[in-house]
């Protein structure tokens, strides 16, 4: 079924063009235009900071700006083959996802699952009850 009967060829072309403009315009509106200067600045600054620095300041750690320094300290203090239990706030899954990704290739488990692990890393509140271990940024690292 088409609009051929009521509309001529030119009108049909105009309607089609208008529809595509609406569709394309709505899709284009999903771009975060307000962030364009930020995107440009971010793209151009890629050579000025290390990948780790950029990650720490990026959107990935929106939920907690202290967390990247903690993970970096754990990373520096543990060998790549280690298994680490992390005690992080359970309110957001992304705490665990960031720990698993940032510390890769180390094996990372949630503290309650880490019965026989080489290290336990306690972040912020969880670190307060720890008397032993090494003090690291915003937390404590315990070798078991």
């Amino acid at each position: 079924m088409t609009l051929e009967a009521p509309l001529g060829q030119t009108w049909r072309r105009l309607v089609a063009a208008l529809c595509l403009t609406v569709f394309g315009g709505m899709a284009a509106a999903r771009y975060e235009w307000r962030k364009l200067p930020q995107f440009l600045a971010g793209s151009l600054s890629s050579g000025r900071q290390s990948a780790d620095e950029a990650r720490a300041k990026g959107t990935g750690f929106w939920f907690d700006r202290d967390y990247p320094a903690f993970l970096e300290a754990v990373r520096r203090a543990t060998p790549p083959g280690a298994t680490i239990a992390v005690a992080v706030p359970g309110t957001l899954d992304v705490y665990l996802y960031q720990a698993v990704f940032t510390l890769a290739p180390r094996r990372v488990v949630a503290l309650q699952d880490g019965v026989s692990v080489g290290y336990a890393a306690y972040y912020k509140d969880a670190a307060l009850s720890q008397s032993g271990g090494i003090r690291i940024a915003s937390g404590v690292l315990v070798r078991r």
Binding site: C19, F23, G42, S43, F101, A104
Partner: protein, 431 residues
Amino acid sequence: MIGVALALVATPLAGYALARPAVSSLPRSERFAWSLAVGLMVQALLVLASIGARPGADFSLALSLLTVLLLLPLLPRRAARLAAPEFLRLGPAARVLCAPAAVGVALFAVAALSEPMWTTDYLAVWGLKAKTIFLTASLPGRLFHDPAIVWSHPEYPLLVPLDLAALAAWARRWDDRALAALYPLCQAATAAAAFGFLVRRGRALGGAVAAALIGWFFPLYDPVHVGMADIPLALGFVLLCIAFLDALEADSPAVYARLAIASLFCAATKPEGALFGALAALFWLVLRPRGRSWSPPFLALLLPSVVHGVLLRWARGSLPSRDFDFTLLAPSRWAAWLGRIGETLARITSVELAAAALPLAALAIFFFATDSGLADRLLPLLGLQLAFYVLTCSLSAFGVAWLVGTSFGRIVCALVPALAVVVGARLRPRT
């Protein structure tokens, strides 16, 4: 960044070196898209071969050298390359519309490269696997069987993680921002594939419109989707669709090879890619022209994904998906499943469709205002894929609302570039 840039130049070239017999008759833009798809699969295979030969050893040099070896056969063919086929010349409107497509890709590139990849699915699924493969120079069994990371979709195919690991190997370090360059390149290839195909079929204006729609389709080409598999999958969908349309028209080994390439690329990228290949195989049986044998295209569509699935299962064992409750498929639970389907449809209608009502209405009016096109035969295939997405959401083990909210819109968006081919094909030149 230089290493990644080199990789992204070498990858399509290596792909072209291998796929040349199947793609040399195509327009340059389409050749680029096919070459990138093949190149990405080759890079993944080379990573597997390198880490398989010397697990734990740095595979950067081996990967680069093997890729350069693949490029060698291209050198004596330079003269032949210059004699590539001529296609329809672009009219002024089509030329003007090509510029927005390029601007759209550039806008996405700026957004994608502005910061290291960060989305939850990148951290928990694709990036985690890729980083682990790169840093251990191996494919550790725990990526598939560790209960601590059971949420990382161990059942997913590995093309994207292996390609990210390959890019990191070229760069000789893990740089989440530089690796993001893969995604605008996939977008560019998707637009180029749609454009090249439609130009080849005498729809230069339609090709430019399709490319512009893909370039500016920011619901898919969004920084939130960088680091995931949906953007490469959209490329696979477009390649499979245009190869399918070619198969309906022509009967040649090159067409069958392109069908097989697209099917393998889709299956190796995401599970819904394998589904799309299987549905396309079934549609071939229904739509094939009279007098044409059913078997070559059917097998080209189905065999790659079957072989890929068997090899994955052989390598890592059976890995059931925890996201789905397949017990709903048992006859005793069909009533409950029907209820879930209704709930899924209600959720999609009230949330997803409502949010996209205006563009969908515009698209519907466009279809009424234009005559049928050469790519309309894709509509039932795309529609059936969509129907399977609805059924899949109804099987969610964590509730329908969760799966619809987290995935439905994104996976549907990955089908839109293929739909842009249908739209472009309806734009006939002025007579």
